[in-house]
């Protein structure tokens, strides 16, 4: 099983996001450490792109701060290579940066050079919000060559054939977009999350829900509804931005991130417990037998081996199958 897959195997995963270089690379290194201490199971590292069309204002601002601070793909890789954390790392960026890295380094545009360099510095997978499954062939191939995962986003509007097409290409985890729209902290959990999870219930791939998750309570609700993990970005980026504005030292901001991480991770764990206890908690809707089964495992310590993966001993890049 890939490192990313393993991160979801035992308990619900907490997957924080931050924009690397916000406000500078050294601070990002500290923040990543803090998130690991706070219980992160996978960390999404944003490589800022000038046109972040999937991001709301919070992350747009972080992108501006990072780019103003001089962040580049090369500096991003250098920063990642300095990280001394044990959790798997996912690079989140837009396709043009991946594509142009090849041109810049080898004169040959395309994703191979980027993926190769990412593998070298210890990246385990990618999520690329402006690259739908239809356009992802070359990146998928490059990821397969380097044994890295390629995560796809599934939106509330994704169903039928589109869903199948994504499932044929995804590996690591599925990023379940909780609501339509862009990233950003929200006051509530979208009611569409449960329906989305339901559509995915048949597929044996970890489902991590993101877009709007802000509190431990949200994390609990989402996991109780059947998620295998929660992805949290904007609320953490907000903490960084606020600390930045107040002129707080990096350690102080790092402590806040760690505390917030603990809250979110605990929420996710609580969600697993409540899910075992009560059926269809949090308006999860009708669950399939398959999902109920996996839900039961969530609350137990038993090693059933590869809860969500396509069998045991599989490598990165393994596509999910229907249960």
């Amino acid at each position: 099983m890939s490192a990313i897959g393993a991160a979801f195997a035992d308990e619900p995963a907490f997957v924080p996001y931050l924009a690397v270089g916000d406000p500078d690379a050294d601070a990002s290194v500290e923040y990543v450490r803090a998130l690991e201490r706070g219980g992160a199971d996978v960390i999404e590292l944003g490589l800022p792109f000038s046109e972040p069309i999937a991001e709301g204002p919070t992350i747009q601002d972080a992108v501006v701060r990072s780019l103003d601070g001089g962040m580049t793909p090369a500096a991003f890789f250098e920063t990642v290579s300095r990280l001394d954390v044990d959790v798997p790392l996912v690079c989140m960026t837009y396709y043009n940066l991946i594509y142009q890295f090849g041109r810049r380094t080898s004169g040959d545009p395309g994703p191979e050079a980027f993926v190769e360099r990412a593998a070298e510095v210890g990246i385990d997978g990618f999520v690329v919000p402006d690259l739908p499954a239809e356009e992802a062939g070359p990146l998928r191939t490059a990821c397969d060559e380097h044994d890295l995962d390629l995560i796809f986003i599934v939106a509330p509007t994704t169903r039928g054939e589109r869903l199948e097409r994504i499932m044929a290409r995804v590996s690591g985890y599925v990023y379940v977009q909780a609501r339509l729209g862009v990233t950003g902290a929200r006051a509530d959990v979208s009611t569409r999350t449960a329906a989305s999870l339901d559509r995915l219930a048949d597929w044996d791939v970890p489902k991590a829900v993101g877009f709007g998750i802000t509190t431990g309570d949200h994390a609990r609700e989402v996991v109780a509804a059947g998620a295998d993990g929660v992805i949290v970005g904007s609320v953490l980026v907000d903490l960084i931005a606020e600390g930045n504005e107040a002129g707080d030292p990096v350690e102080t901001v790092a402590d806040r991130l760690e505390a917030k991480a603990r809250e979110l991770k605990q929420g996710a764990l609580d969600g697993a417990t409540s899910k075992t206890g009560v059926e269809a908690d949090g308006g999860a809707g009708p669950e399939t037998g398959a999902e109920r089964e996996s839900g039961t495992e969530l609350g137990t310590e038993t090693e059933v081996g590869g809860r969500t993966q396509a069998g045991t001993g599989t490598d990165a890049g393994t596509r999910p199958e229907r249960k």
């Binding site: 780019l67 580049t72 594509y99 090849g102 239809e134 356009e135 070359p138 169903r159 862009v182």
Partner: protein
């Protein structure tokens, strides 16, 4: 690996994506290496739905859609627009100049062809709300008019800088009942407005249609916008036959995203789209050889064709002439970008050309040599703006002024003896910035504006504010 992964990706034949990978499937909407659908997953179902509607209604005229479009663009829009012989310009050059008067279309620019077409399509698709970006405000204005005409809700995103540069158009949009949402990100121009409109659409996609303003964005937009604008070229063809009994020797159009450009070229360029049977062969049924018609796309050269990599600024918008291949706003195309792939801030005196990308089909036609990309800088565009105003009695849009100015560079051998210039729009929207930009320069041709009492201007009591914002 699943059995469903059917496309022959990554054959190992080439490490580059060119001609392999995603384009092997000959998906519609790719033009050579350009085009495609690089958008967030949330938008993909809507784009697929739109593609179906495009095939049904636009390409197959289901429900008489194209007939209704033709009738509305005639009655509401005022088509056909004239093809006018330009006497002064024809005197100036060794070739005859004809002006395709899209400035006379309702709203004052070619933009209505596309806006009305897409708003009507949205109606056929059962969408109730329209969003659109705008740069010069011409597309926003056209969309607001079309939405009002068809009874649709309409919200327009516009960069704050453009709102300042194009105030009259902001008033017009508001008068037609559209909301105008200022976009503050970046330099506050077209690029940011498109990004913000895409974000709105990603949120509201179930009941909203995004009326994109040029032949840019993910498939099917480039093809669909071209098809709605194609009426320009079809009329040019017909009117040329009537007026001088042959095809024009060349067609010249300015290019921002390239919608007036593709619209004016479409009947002459052949079909560049992969995976489709060529609907236009060079030799057509009537025996005319359209492949002999010269096609010239005039880009905004801004203040200079060089770039400032460190600041991420290109002082021009000449993506066809100076850009490189990349992915922006849903399509692979030619872009102004730095070496890392960050999109540059573009510049042009004309808001409508001020964009770091260009339509994928046009980029492809330039690569194949069918279309020649040329450029004209700010100064010369402004000079041509005044010249056309004085000599022909037509105040052109600053965008159009680029195409007019280029005639000075045209080699008579290359353009032939009958040149059609697409007057993409009228210049009323540009009066403020034209006066402002004229005041900065010492242009011989510019009229003096002493008629406005100098004192009144400094008191700010004049309606015409010629203050230079950069000071």
């Amino acid at each position: 690996m699943s059995e469903r992964r059917s496309r022959s990706e990554g054959t190992g034949r080439s490490r580059s994506e060119s001609g392999s990978g995603s384009s092997t499937a000959r998906r519609p909407g790719t033009y050579g290496d350009y085009g495609g659908q690089y958008v967030p997953e949330a938008l993909m179902p809507a784009i697929t739905e739109l593609d179906d509607a495009y095939e049904r209604y636009v390409r197959s005229n289901a429900g008489g859609f194209m007939d209704e479009f033709a009738s509305r663009i005639a009655d509401f829009g005022g088509r056909p627009t004239p093809l006018q012989y330009a006497e002064e310009l024809s005197d100036r050059y060794d070739f005859d100049v004809y002006l395709k008067r899209e400035d006379l279309l309702h709203g004052g620019a070619h933009k209505l062809n596309n806006a009305l077409g897409q708003c009507l399509l949205a109606k056929y698709m059962g969408k109730e709300r329209i969003v659109a970006e705008t740069g010069a405000g011409q597309h926003g204005t056209a969309t607001a008019m079309a939405a009002a005409h068809l009874g649709l809700d309409c919200e327009i995103y516009m960069g704050t800088r453009d709102i300042r540069r194009q105030r009259p158009n902001v008033f017009r949009m508001r008068l037609n009942g559209a909301e105008v949402n200022p976009v503050t990100a970046g330099r506050g121009t077209l690029k940011e407005a498109i990004s913000e409109t895409m974000r709105d659409w990603a949120t509201t996609v179930e009941d909203t249609h995004y009326v994109i303003g040029s032949v840019v964005g993910p498939h099917p937009f480039p093809a669909m916008v071209r098809d709605f604008q194609r009426v320009i070229a079809d009329e040019i063809r017909e009117q040329s036959e009537e007026k001088f009994d042959s095809l024009p020797s060349s067609v010249v159009a300015c290019a921002g995203g390239g919608s007036n450009t593709m619209g004016a070229f479409a009947a002459f360029a052949g079909d560049a789209e992969n995976g489709d049977a060529a609907t236009d062969t060079a030799d057509t049924a009537d025996g005319a050889d359209t492949s002999a018609v010269g096609l010239f796309a005039v880009e905004a050269g801004g203040s200079s064709l060089s770039v400032d990599e460190d600041r991420g600024v290109a002082p021009n918008s000449a993506s066809l002439s100076t850009g490189s291949e990349g992915v922006l706003h849903g399509a692979r195309t030619k872009l102004l970008q730095d070496g890392h792939g960050q999109i540059m801030e573009s510049h042009s005196i004309s808001s409508g050309l001020d964009y770091a990308g260009v339509g994928p089909e046009l980029a492809h036609l330039v690569d194949t040599g069918r279309v020649q990309a040329v450029s004209v800088d700010d100064d010369r565009a402004l000079e041509a703006f005044h010249r056309l105003s004085q000599n022909e009695g037509i105040i052109p849009a600053l965008e159009t002024a680029h195409a007019i100015a280029w005639l000075d560079d045209a080699d008579p051998e290359a353009v032939g003896d009958r040149v059609v210039v697409n007057v993409s729009g009228r210049g009323d929207k540009d009066l403020e910035s034209a006066l402002e930009e004229t005041a900065k320069r010492d242009l011989d041709i510019a009229p003096d504006m002493d008629v406005f009492d100098a004192e009144a201007m400094t008191n700010g009591s004049s309606d015409i504010d010629v203050e230079d914002e950069s000071r």
